[in-house]
Point group: C2
Chain length 163, copies 2
DNA sequence: TCCTAAATAGTAATGAATATCAGATAGTAA
DNA sequence: TTACTATCTGATATTCATTACTATTTAGGA
């Protein structure tokens, strides 16, 4: 399951899926079409509602499974990670986060370039800004060292918990 | 409940709470102490385990309620928001997010300054980087217009869903 | 000390996200 | 085309983080 990271126009999604060694089912194609046609960053439920208009028998579980598969293949991204629980941070001074997509651990970092960032005007007109923060996602060294390919269905295994 | 945003050394937390019109209970003080003593960005469960060493009868619900209260008062922040479900994003090109902490809606934005950011070396040595993204949190204009103070227990009301 | 709103403990409920498994399907080879 | 087989799907059950409920206790002012 090689990490293909092309922005797939739905045309060749079937090819990409096959090249990744998974089947190009109608459910998968429709789920991708539904997602790619939205600017709303929909959740699984919203995608489910949309897809069901064309495939009335599709199940919510298939939608979840497919979206997580797309995630694993790098065909889409997600705002928060699967299995990610709420973590709290007492540090109110400006800082940023390194988040491991496998173990979920978070590490702070700071950098002058990041502190110098100004909130763009586009955001000002969007609403009332509370905070701005950079998140870097990846795999911490420890996780990266372990079995290279992420075989699990979801991205975060929460077994090894903080502290 | 005025938004006091001082970084409270646990000494005056009691004062801050009272000034905010809520009671300074031992549970609240201990929960804050537990959180502020950690660099791990712990979740509610981890904080619960720690606090229970000193207050064996504390309940997990109290921990959750207290942390959400701290969030609302701006005394702590959270990595992801309460009630936030997984949202998917088909856009693989570099972009950033405006997230409304009240309705949960997400809007993309781009900005040359943000695109010019380079992954700092500190992050390179941390592990294998997959992506870097800026998140701006706040209230979208629509939500900001409504009843000013956030009265809800949790920060996101998920009733009004995407699309 | 007494009083009362607010907070807590204990527990039940909720709901997003996963797992299980029997039956259906895609893709291949003949 | 047909048959074959690993992969997928749909339906359902389950898990588990998070939130709600309620009787009881407590903080903090009178």
């Amino acid at each position: 399951m090689p990490p293909l990271k092309l922005p797939p126009d739905s045309l060749d999604l079937a090819q990409i899926l096959k090249a990744s060694g998974v089947k190009a089912t109608v459910q998968r194609l429709e789920i991708y079409r539904e997602l790619s046609g939205s600017m709303q960053h929909p959740d699984a439920e919203a995608i489910y509602r949309g897809v069901r208009r064309r495939i009335p028998t599709v199940s919510l579980d298939t939608v979840y499974r497919t979206l997580l598969l797309f995630l694993k293949l790098g065909l889409v991204s997600s705002l928060r990670l699967p299995h990610e629980r709420i973590r709290f941070d007492p540090n109110l001074t400006p800082h940023h986060h390194l988040v491991c997509t496998r173990c979920g651990r978070v590490q702070d970092f700071t950098h002058p370039d990041f502190d110098a960032l100004k909130v763009p005007e586009a955001a000002q007109s969007w609403g009332v800004i509370e905070k701005m923060q950079v998140e870097i996602r990846g795999q911490c060294e420890r996780c990266a060292r372990q079995t290279k390919p992420g075989r699990s269905r979801s991205l975060i295994q929460t077994k090894e918990e903080p502290k």
